[in-house]
Symmetry: C2
């Protein structure tokens, strides 16, 4: 019997130039590409001219995609399961492994890391993540809001830089404002805030502000937006957001 | 006058196959490559046969490397300043920007994100970072230990997965054991712990353990090691470390 395999492939922030050589090779070597339709569309340049089967599906069909990937690999096919950013960070790696654990004879799995959305957003803003940071998703679809609140408070209390994923969950626009209010219980109004929509993609847009002035742009956040809240040490200078590591200059 | 530029290039966990196309192009297009000697050595395959000038220096010469990069760019040269992993995560991006801010007419700077050490280690271990996490460096060279302790406690209290960078600082081997003891004040003894040395590199080594049993391998940690401490939801299954996102299977 042929030996099938699922490669969970991190494709980075979007443009194919941010894909690693390893990820591109895994897609090239695969018989079948499975992914969320937006991420698959971004791979058009890589898939052009290939006879490869491509299965794309809508947001929310994550479990289906994983089950299909495992089923096809068990038939002996090489499957590239696409995950935007890094598949291990709010991505498909965990779910795929959970699905394989339902199998008596699971297929081989390889997880190929990618450039994270946080790293791409940080690069656009300057260097806000060069010291300790916490990564928090505001999506309360799979996590109780009380847990999210607790994490926001703890991260602010210990002066972490905070990266916020999914600032708008399920169409709800008030989560980010709620998070801002919680952070303002502990953080100063002049705490640096950077926001990036579509980091590294065409139409990328950035905002430079502070927690106190965040209402200037808070409603612009959408599902493709990442928000970075500085620590007490973070500052804006010359249009760049910087968290110093502590070197003497 | 020629227009110089510094590209701060993230080269990922080590092997050139984990470098993005954008990063490889920036190195290719540069007149001069500057970096920490280990990272420059890892680029041998990319630099082979080129007539490019390469300046490598020792750990601890970070400020010098940044100043040199800025000085050379001001002469009109294109400089690739190499930073392992992602240059924005405990990397060279922040320091380079700080150095440019000393200049009256700073050169153009581009920051090119890379695969982080955390992402590479997570991929090797399974999928420990698919939910909220905190990233903490134990290096007390540039950060007071009291701040590090406070962040460890806050992260454990709010049930973050915790990624520990620099588990051994300045040759001191007791920092990781101290961190473990602090975490055990709040975390259960059976909290999943994964450790990876040289993720993605030849000779990569992983350890699967728990906080309570961490003494089995805690002394194996070195400067190239990353430690991931699970949340209360993280578990080991089939040799893989998983933090479930919360999907219904």
């Amino acid at each position: 019997m042929l030996k099938g395999k699922v490669s969970v492939v991190g494709t980075g922030p979007g443009p194919v130039e941010f894909i690693t050589a390893r990820a591109a090779a895994a897609i090239e070597e695969s018989d079948l590409v499975i992914g969320y339709k937006l991420y698959v569309k971004q791979l058009a340049l890589l898939l052009e001219g290939s006879e490869k089967e491509v299965i794309s599906s809508a947001m929310g069909r994550e479990v289906d995609r994983c089950r299909r990937a495992v089923a096809e690999a068990k038939k002996g096919r090489k499957v590239a399961l696409i995950s935007g950013g890094d598949p291990g960070i709010y991505g498909m790696a965990g779910l795929l492994l959970q699905v394989t654990h339902e199998e008596e004879t699971p297929p081989e799995v390889e997880i190929i890391p990618g450039v994270t959305a946080a790293g791409a957003a940080a690069a656009v803003l300057g260097a806000p993540l060069t010291h300790d940071f916490a990564v928090i998703s505001l999506s309360d679809l799979l996590t109780p809001w009380t847990v999210i609140e607790k994490r926001l408070r703890a991260a602010a209390e210990a002066d972490f830089v905070i990266v916020i994923y999914n600032p708008r969950s399920n169409g709800r626009s008030d989560l980010l404002a709620k998070a801002r209010d919680i952070l303002l219980e502990r953080c100063k109004h002049d705490t640096a805030v950077g926001m990036v929509r579509g980091a590294g993609r065409d139409g990328e847009k950035t905002w430079a502000t502070t927690l106190g002035d965040f209402s200037c742009c808070i409603d612009e956040a959408d599902m493709a937006t990442l928000v970075i809240i500085g620590s007490s040490k973070t500052y804006w200078h010359g249009g760049k957001m910087i968290t110093p590591r502590g070197y003497e200059l």
